[in-house]
């Protein structure tokens, strides 16, 4: 089958997850199928931290895929999520980013919802002077805002439009749940702040970027030079059994010229910081891992690099753009010193991050090429074609693991 036919029929290359056809990053039909099957399917999307809605009637706007939702804490303290989409005329009725509200009134015809998304009233439901109004058979309780299934675990909130989503713990699998619980260990979280950026690039390039340790050890001067994440350090790529979730693990090393760093163009033996407090970290987790980056399918990266903790949430904005929302946090009871280190080290992350800028810039360039060469395919053969876990970072196994699952989730056929 030639490339053009594969493109027209959207058939995955015969090499399977060792290739990604570039049409997967720009095709509007593929994007729509992702919205239906992945973001609208029985998967858990990260939506908010509990620390954002600590009190009864607190709410925060969030997004699943590209669909706006509202996440609330109700009078009983339970967390709810529902579509920010009036059942009547479609209005995105919650217009504030966050706040505290006992009800949500749509501005158009004043249909009103309670903090669980239940429709509780509308003006002139019984008409006026015996005329008009809703049919007497109309039941408010059947026309609430579409409810999402909610999972809360140790401070983070996940939601799914598909109520057939399995329990969150089962969805992560035992190994990935262990890494999740390493950061979300039950301590109360402190919200430290947000960063947000829009990147002209398909969401998958970002998600893959954090499954790809190979780029990190060649691209990022800061990670390589200061030994924050580098080839010569004890590292690993681990996945759940489906391949959709993964962790990149490493341990901090020295800024020393050795057999490995000598081969790294971006290793700078002479780069010295004027104020090294920027990267001075305190060990705070059990064990010797200093960086664990976890991708939870389909929309979040849990970042633990030194003392920076953040949720990097992906919001899709069409096939060729996404928003990356960073929510930084620490723990209630952090010492002022540790809290200050989290704030300082956040300089490495986000839209102006001394490390992260490299990524946002380079994936935008990937998109620029992918969009106009849809008939070609990306080669993912670093570390062979296996999707098994590795104890090193010279591999793209994590990206292949993701595509193994993606192809299945999307129902793509392989070329013969």
């Amino acid at each position: 089958m030639d490339a053009l036919t594969r493109l027209q029929e959207r058939t995955w290359p015969a090499e399977g997850p060792a290739r990604v056809p570039f049409w997967a990053y720009s095709d509007p039909e593929v994007y729509q199928r992702e919205q239906d099957r992945i973001f609208g399917g029985p998967n858990w999307s990260y939506v908010a931290l509990e620390a954002e809605i600590p009190n009864p009637f607190d709410f925060v706007r969030a997004t699943v895929g590209e669909k706006p939702i509202v996440v609330t804490r109700d009078a009983n303290g339970s967390v709810n999520a529902f579509a920010n989409h009036c059942a009547h005329r479609g209005v995105v009725f919650c217009r504030h980013a966050r706040g505290n509200a006992r009800s949500f009134m749509c501005p158009y015809h004043q249909w009103t919802y309670d903090p669980t998304g239940m429709l509780i009233g509308m003006p002139f439901r019984r008409g006026h002077k015996g005329k008009g109004g809703m049919d007497p058979g109309f039941k408010l309780q059947e026309h609430g805002a579409q409810a999402l299934k909610v999972a809360v675990r140790n401070g983070a909130i996940f939601a799914s439009f598909d109520h057939a989503a399995p329990p969150f713990e089962e969805y992560l699998g035992p190994a990935m749940l262990g890494y999740y619980d390493r950061v979300f260990d039950g301590r109360e979280l402190e919200l430290l702040g947000y960063m947000r950026q829009r990147i002209p690039c398909n969401w998958k390039f970002m998600f893959e970027n954090i499954k790809d340790p190979y780029h990190a050890t060649v691209l990022h001067v800061f990670l390589i030079t200061f030994g924050l994440f580098r080839l010569d350090q004890k590292s690993a790529v681990e996945m759940d059994e489906t391949g959709r979730h993964a962790v990149l693990i490493s341990r901090r090393g020295e800024q020393s010229l050795n057999e490995t760093t000598r081969d790294m163009t971006n290793f700078r033996a002479n780069l010295k910081l004027n104020d090294p407090r920027l990267i001075e970290a305190l060990p705070e987790f059990p064990g010797d891992m200093t960086v664990v980056m976890q991708t939870i399918y389909p929309n979040v990266i849990v970042q633990q690099q030194s003392n920076t903790l953040a949720m990097r949430q992906l919001v899709t904005r069409g096939p060729q753009a996404f928003d990356l929302n960073w929510t930084f946090f620490g723990y209630k009871g952090d010492t002022p010193d540790l809290r200050q280190r989290r704030i300082r080290q956040a300089n490495l992350m986000g839209p102006a991050g001394l490390v992260s800028v490299d990524d946002s810039e380079v994936i935008a360039l990937s998109q620029e090429g992918a969009a106009v060469y849809p008939e070609t395919s990306s080669i993912l053969e670093m570390g062979g074609r296996s999707t098994a876990d590795t104890d090193h970072m010279v591999t793209e196994a994590g990206v292949r693991g993701f595509y193994k699952h993606y192809i299945e989730n999307m129902g793509f056929d392989h070329a013969g």
Binding site: A97, L192, L271, D323, R344, P351, V357, E361
Partner: protein
């Protein structure tokens, strides 16, 4: 939630107000010119050693959350930022242009001047239309050293929720 209360400070003595305003105008012009032309060493010279420079999303500012896009709590950190922007960051070439306006003195004492100003920054890159990087305001604390006003603290608080792709150099 967008309304932001500000204490109304008594005006500085009339005699020096115009002078001070003009001095701030010159300082901000020099600031913009240094950054727009990537004269980062000249930009660094506008700060005292013990300085604070932060680029802060307005939502964090309003909610009292401490995270900043750029957080430099010494001139050393400013220098490291500049070095990274100049040498180590992989970024598409771009030209930035700062428009600083509506300079306003909040309070002026012998020890310190507190001031603010609006800022709009646009960037131009290859193959793209010129676009807005951010719109926001500066919140400053300035001190006089050897007769010139220098920044002890400059916060750039931006309204634009989303940064287009990335912010490479200081703003």
């Amino acid at each position: 939630m967008l309304a932001e209360a500000k204490a109304i400070a008594p005006p500085a003595p009339a005699r020096s107000a115009a002078e001070l305003h003009s001095e701030l105008g010159v300082l901000n012009t020099e600031y913009a010119h240094a950054l727009d032309n990537e004269r980062f060493d000249d930009w660094l010279d506008l700060f005292v050693e013990d300085c604070l420079y932060r680029v802060v999303p307005r939502e964090n500012h309003l909610l009292g959350l401490p995270i900043a896009l750029i957080h430099c709590e010494s001139k050393g950190m400013l220098k490291d930022r500049v070095a990274a922007a100049r040498d180590s960051t992989m970024a598409e070439p771009r030209t930035l242009r700062h428009f600083i306006a509506n300079i306003r003195v909040i309070e002026a004492t012998d020890a310190e001047v507190r001031a603010e100003a609006n800022v709009l920054i646009v960037q131009t890159m290859i193959n793209r239309m010129t676009e807005i990087v951010l719109a926001g305001f500066y919140l400053d604390r300035l001190v006089r050293q050897d007769g010139r006003l220098l920044f002890r603290e400059r916060l750039c608080i931006y309204d634009s929720l989303l940064i287009p792709t990335s912010l490479v150099a200081p703003v």
